[in-house]
């Protein structure tokens, strides 16, 4: 045995992952960011396409103001307990603000960066960000409203071309 690690630099040569982010709930913003960042650190190419509600993740004024509410999420538990969070409480006044605050606090504890900083890291690592044209038209936004590092506002066909040969993950 040589005891030299095999980093297999070429093993991921040509490997690509494309994420489609369609959600802007705070909890659903992170899966693509965490997996995309991990993929880049393994030498895998990453493209992320932001569509529908997910478009908020690349909008300068919205990306760090995502919200979380337990409504409709029956997997949610009361803090530190196996008991389920009563769905009827989801709509109490202030619940979204409180749940958002609590989730952000948990992220902070684990040193998970806010969305804007996470996307900075991803583009610095070579990841590419794309906005969905239909969503831009629907929201009435232009490239001025987006992060400067977004590669462009592209059509669904453009994305299909970009994702050629990629493993595609829809979130």
């Amino acid at each position: 045995m040589s005891f030299i690690p095999n980093f297999d630099d070429d093993g991921n040569e040509g490997r690509k992952i494309a994420f489609i982010c369609t959600k802007a709930n705070l909890d659903m913003a992170y899966p693509a960011l965490i997996m995309g960042n991990a993929a880049l650190g393994e030498g895998v190419e990453v493209d992320i396409f932001f569509s529908f509600w997910g478009f908020d993740l690349i909008m300068k004024n919205r990306q760090d103001n995502l919200k979380f509410n337990p409504a409709g999420n029956t997997g949610m538990h009361l803090p530190g307990s196996d008991a389920h969070f009563p769905q009827s409480m989801s709509l109490l006044p202030g619940m979204t603000a409180m749940a958002t605050w609590m989730l952000k606090r948990e992220f902070d504890k684990l040193d998970v960066p806010p969305v804007s900083e996470f996307l900075d890291i991803i583009t610095a690592s070579g990841g590419r960000l794309w906005g969905c044209k239909l969503s831009a038209d629907m929201y009435g936004v232009t490239e001025q409203d987006l992060r400067e590092d977004v590669g462009g506002i592209i059509t669904a066909s453009d994305f299909i071309e970009i994702a050629k040969g990629a493993q595609v993950i829809f979130i």
Binding site: G41, I121, A124, S125
Partner: protein, 104 residues
């Protein structure tokens, strides 16, 4: 755990070849480790490796690429340029530390 000889010194490594004892490491060994994975050490490489060593001493775990940027001040882009493709793993290998354990 295997014990092998690097740069004239006996060091403890795991099955992959990562050093397992913080104090086994020195810069002569680091040069050999870098050579093993085809990295030629420059001042820019050393600055990051020394940061990782110091940071591990206080934190007890290997800094992730993000921490190397946020605390060490070495931009992630530079880390990818200096330690291509898999900077987190390559930096920790040369620094004689475990792979970073964090997901972020």
């Amino acid at each position: 755990m295997p014990v092998i000889e690097i740069a004239g010194k006996s060091v403890n490594v795991n099955d992959e070849g990562f050093l397992t004892e913080y104090d086994d490491w020195n810069e002569e060994i680091a040069k050999e480790l870098a050579k093993n994975i085809e990295i030629e050490m420059t001042d820019a490489h050393w600055a990051i490796i020394r940061f990782l060593r110091e940071d591990f001493k206080t934190q007890g775990e290997t800094a992730t690429t993000r921490r190397v940027q946020s605390t060490g001040g070495f931009p992630i882009k530079d880390q990818f340029a200096l330690f291509p493709k898999k900077p987190g793993k390559k930096m920790s290998y040369i620094a004689g530390l475990p792979k970073p354990a964090g997901c972020v």
